[in-house]
Amino acid sequence: MTRVEDIVDIVSPRSTVWKVLVDPSFLPKLYPDVISVETSPPGMLKVGTKARILAKLGKVKVEAHVEVTRADDEVCFATRQSPGGLFSTFQQTVLLHADAMDTKVKVVFEYTLLGDYAATITQAEFLDSRTADNLRWYTRNLKEICELLPLPS
């Protein structure tokens, strides 16, 4: 199992971070290689929402399926893999803690690639490293998006 963990201070209120976290339309910008996301039911992510995530690796499409398992308002957000796609196991946990006007965010991903599926795409080590890179970028991009200031000023 591969584990990716990050803790970041976001200069933005917890409500802003939460809005980005639970809005699936931001996912293609949070993960560099994700190209589209379809959710069922549509709308904001909540417990039970299933997401079909389409990503690219070189010239190949890669699918991942996840389900939201926790969405405690502005405190904790978690997903895990659902059957099909890239992962045999996948778990994402995001914890939010208000720190004055900022938000401290802890993000943990734990996953195992599904060997048979991965073998149809590329070498397993490369795919694992690329997946881990995407998960690291998630936290950096979350910070960047949440810290943008609205226009018009």
Binding site: S25, K56, K59, S153
Partner: protein, 154 residues
């Protein structure tokens, strides 16, 4: 009025190009500086569908509003601007032609950036350059996404 125009070959069937072009879920990957897109009604493009997008310009968050004006399946896709947001006027015309090697795509973007929206701290020339760069990238990314194939089929 600034315009960006290109004609390019996509090595994929028109159906593959069309499915990327008309699915609002792909918009944030087509335009580098668009962060998300919300379509109303949700789902694939229909004439009259509104798209509301947020984008970034440096450290600032802006809004970009469009609507689907014309759809001729596998042939022609036209988007127009809506009041408010980053553009005073916006028009995008994408035309597809099936060819032996795949799909020939012609794209045209015409726009006027809203200086009122951005305010005097933003230089209009830089805003025009940023918009043009996004539109040029849109076409390159459309080609890249439409040419993706399923695992084991390449």
């Amino acid at each position: 009025m600034p315009r960006v125009q290109a004609t390019f070959l996509v090595e994929a069937r028109p159906e593959a190009v069309w499915s990327v072009l008309t699915n609002p879920n792909f918009i944030p990957k087509l335009y580098p500086d668009i962060l998300n897109a919300v379509a109303s009604p949700p789902g694939a493009a229909v004439v009259g569908q509104w798209r509301t997008m947020s984008g970034r310009l440096g450290q600032r968050l802006f809004e970009f509003r469009t609507k689907v004006e014309e759809l001729v399946p596998m042939k022609r896709f036209v988007i127009g601007g809506r009041r408010g947001g980053a553009f005073e006027s916006f028009r995008q015309v994408m035309e597809l032609t099936s060819v032996k090697e795949g799909t020939m795509v012609s794209g045209l973007f015409e726009f006027t950036v809203s200086q009122d929206y951005f305010g005097p701290q933003f230089d209009i020339t830089l805003l025009n350059q940023a918009a043009s760069l996004n539109e040029e990238n849109y076409m390159m990314n459309l080609k890249e996404l439409a040419e993706l194939h399923d695992p084991g089929s390449g």
